[in-house]
């Protein structure tokens, strides 16, 4: 097989993700058809559920908020060629940080102080949970993938132990903390809109969405416009070269993992400060893993990550709608689509790249030749 001509950047960034999603949807559609339902009908239900019904867009954006945080987390680590699959555990511990802050201080501090403090605590706890695997990789040579997997389970155990024990609200059966006071709440967007005199349907969408967008800007500045970001990317391209250029690679790895963990930890503010107003068991429900799909789809760029988060937000919200409309297909369908998207855009990444590169190469060279002959005739 001849080596394919390099894929043009616009195709790599724009076309390949679309092809991946399309492939994932086709395979899921086949599964739906085998089950005996109409895949196009299911698709329409999901689209309506995600965008059309009253308040559905708010739900879609609310899910997207989670995915922006966890997607950014994976992407930042990716730039240093670190594969952080510990977003789930880092987000979980972020919820512990936010929860502890609110439990301790919600009767003392006003919202304007408490909420920023809780956000910092969630980022801080997540950062520590990311930095330890970073340290173990940089200084002790353990593999980051394995360590972060283990840290996911460790986080889960710690949270079960605390929420069913020390932190459980007195007189409560379910493993969760007491509800925080109103000072600890991030306001809902529909409340803000109503206060401004705009009519808006109720949804769990809250101010965290704005924080998530700010985080996108922050990551963009960090990676492409800062000295640290340069060091992160240099470490990712070639750790050896970075070392020779005087970049302290071990330190960069630890810092990158701390930033990555901090971003994942901030996912907790959407769930804990924005919606639940208490720390509950299992609030991360796999969103940390979805972040991997989001980062892969979004090509590790904040803009791509926002778009991919919207897609996954729509899938999650639309998927919930499947439960109501069909007796045989449920929201687990979304896990299937998600797995397929990760498979096509990650594991099988080169399956479409090569043929597409050949195809585009052939088309482009044909056009070049045509331009050439035309130019020749004119000249």
């Amino acid at each position: 097989m001849s080596p394919p001509p390099p894929l043009p950047r616009w195709a790599d960034v724009g076309l390949i993700p679309l092809i991946n999603v399309f492939a994932a949807l086709v395979v899921s559609g086949i599964v739906v058809a085998i089950i005996g339902e109409n895949p196009f009908e299911a698709m329409m239900v999901m689209i309506k559920g995600a965008f059309v019904y009253k308040g559905s867009l708010g739900y879609t954006l609310y899910y997207a908020t989670n995915f922006i945080f966890t997607g950014l987390a994976v992407a930042v680590a990716f730039h240093a060629m670190l594969f952080n699959i510990g977003g789930e555990g880092q987000a979980y511990l972020g919820g512990l940080g936010a929860g502890l802050t609110c439990l301790l201080l919600d009767s003392m501090l006003p919202a304007l102080l408490l909420v920023p403090l809780a956000i910092m605590a969630s980022a801080g706890f997540g950062a520590v949970w990311g930095a330890i695997p970073g340290y173990l990789q940089a200084k002790r040579g353990s593999h980051i993938v394995i360590t972060t997997i283990m840290f996911n389970f460790l986080a889960a155990s710690i949270m079960v132990w605390l929420l069913a024990g020390r932190l459980k609200a007195p007189g409560q059966m379910s493993p969760e903390t007491r509800s925080f006071s109103e000072n600890a709440e991030l306001p809902f967007i529909h409340d803000i809109a109503n206060a401004l005199g705009m009519e808006m349907a109720r949804s769990p969408l809250n101010l965290s969405f704005v924080v998530a967008l700010l985080a996108c800007v922050g990551v963009w500045v960090l990676i492409w416009r800062s000295r640290l970001g340069y060091a992160i990317r240099a470490t990712g391209h070639s750790a050896k070269a970075a070392e020779y250029a005087g970049i302290p690679v071990s330190t960069i790895i630890i810092i990158t993992m701390a930033i990555s963990g901090g971003l994942a930890g901030m996912m907790a503010i959407n769930e804990i400060l924005g919606v639940q107003h208490r720390t509950i068991l299992g609030f991360t429900s796999g969103y940390g893993f979805t972040g991997i799909a989001v980062a892969l789809m979004g090509r590790n760029h904040p803009v791509g990550i926002v778009l991919a988060s919207l897609l996954f937000g729509a899938l999650y919200q639309g998927g919930a709608e499947l439960d109501f409309e069909f007796s045989t297909i449920t929201r687990e369908m979304v896990l299937l689509i998600q797995g397929l998207i990760i498979l096509f855009s990650g594991g099988l990444a080169y399956m479409f790249n090569r043929p597409l590169a050949h195809l585009l190469g052939a088309l482009l060279s044909q056009r070049d030749r045509k331009d050439h002959t035309e130019a020749g005739q004119n000249g």
Partner: protein
């Protein structure tokens, strides 16, 4: 005293039962990773085969048919992983993760469509499960102190898959160290170009390793749903694939070490389930959740080189690109 001894024996017995799927999966992991292919899809392969084993056992009323179907589906997932990581040279971790998520979604989706029980399969009847095998004279010899009780409580009364799992350890050790295939398998994980220059196909060797891993994962899944349990429950692997992965690392990618690690992790789980809700002197309520977290913690400590050093195969995770 006799009662304490019996309690101890019952815990050892439970350890074997809990460790069986871990042992099978850890051996699968050894085959895969020794050949240079990272395999975090043990979890997904086991989950998928647990579902298929239970579903097919229900439909055909045969546990054996269920197991073979489970092996088939685990091999297919292994080949998918191979396509991604060997042929297309994609990222092996991502491919494995995708298979795990895929299995989570697919088992529940298909389960609901097939059986309308919220993702479970119907409860299996006796004939559709692997039954315990009572060894001869277990009851009569059980009267003999120590040896007899060990024979009755620990050795007798396991189903065939427990024995197969223990056999799989011998099989793995034999294959890796005593056969030509095993030599090639280890070489392909350490220095694939050496094998390539000797005229042996790197891809073929790795695919074969993944197929063997599929067979072992398939049996692990079948054990969960048709021997240990009596039917498939959604997410029934509950991280066991990752514990097996941890055990494999803990055992330094060696069959014997991995076996011991699986038994240790199995023992911790058996102890934890015995201590559920028990009040202990000094510490009060037994911290079951923390005991269950020990395998992960121990693996992190070992990997960090604080106790011994676990070295993975050198070429692990790297797709092989043939030089021309």
């Amino acid at each position: 005293m006799a009662d304490l001894w019996l309690q101890f024996l019952l815990t050892i017995d439970a350890t074997l039962r809990v460790a069986t799927p871990l042992i099978l999966c850890a051996m699968a992991g050894i085959f895969s990773e020794k050949s240079g292919v990272i395999d975090i899809s043990l979890e997904g392969k086991m989950l998928m085969s647990a579902f298929v084993a239970a579903a097919v056992a229900t439909l055909t009323s045969s546990a054996i048919a269920g197991m073979f179907a489970a092996i088939g589906v685990a091999i297919m997932l292994g080949l998918l992983h191979g396509l991604a990581s060997i042929t297309l040279r994609g990222n092996q971790v991502i491919s494995g993760l995708a298979i795990n998520i895929l299995a989570s979604g697919l088992t529940v989706t298909v389960g609901i469509a097939m059986f309308q029980q919220g993702g479970q399969t119907p409860s299996l009847a006796r004939a559709e499960r692997f039954r315990p095998i009572e060894l001869p004279f277990a009851e009569q010899l059980g009267g003999i102190p120590i040896i007899g009780t060990i024979y009755r409580e620990v050795i007798s009364g396991h189903n065939i898959l427990v024995w197969i799992a223990l056999g799989a350890v011998l099989f793995t050790a034999f294959m890796l160290t005593r056969t030509r295939f095993g030599l090639r398998l280890r070489a392909v994980g350490e220095k694939p170009e050496a094998l390539d220059s000797a005229g042996v196909s790197v891809a073929r060797t790795r695919y074969l390793a993944l197929i063997i891993a599929g067979v072992l994962c398939g049996m692990a899944g079948a054990y969960l749903s048709t021997a240990h349990g009596s039917g498939f429950v959604r997410e029934m692997t509950a991280g066991k694939g990752y514990i097996a992965l941890a055990a494999m690392i803990f055992g330094k990618w060696q069959p014997r070490g991995a076996l011991l690690a699986c038994l240790l992790f199995g023992f911790l789980e058996a102890v934890a389930s015995r201590l559920q809700g028990v009040e202990l002197p000094l510490i009060g309520q037994a911290p079951v959740d923390l005991i269950l977290a020990l395998p992960y913690l121990l693996t992190v400590i070992l990997l960090a080189g604080f106790v011994g050093k676990a070295m993975p195969p050198r070429a692990i995770g790297e797709p092989y690109i043939k030089e021309r």
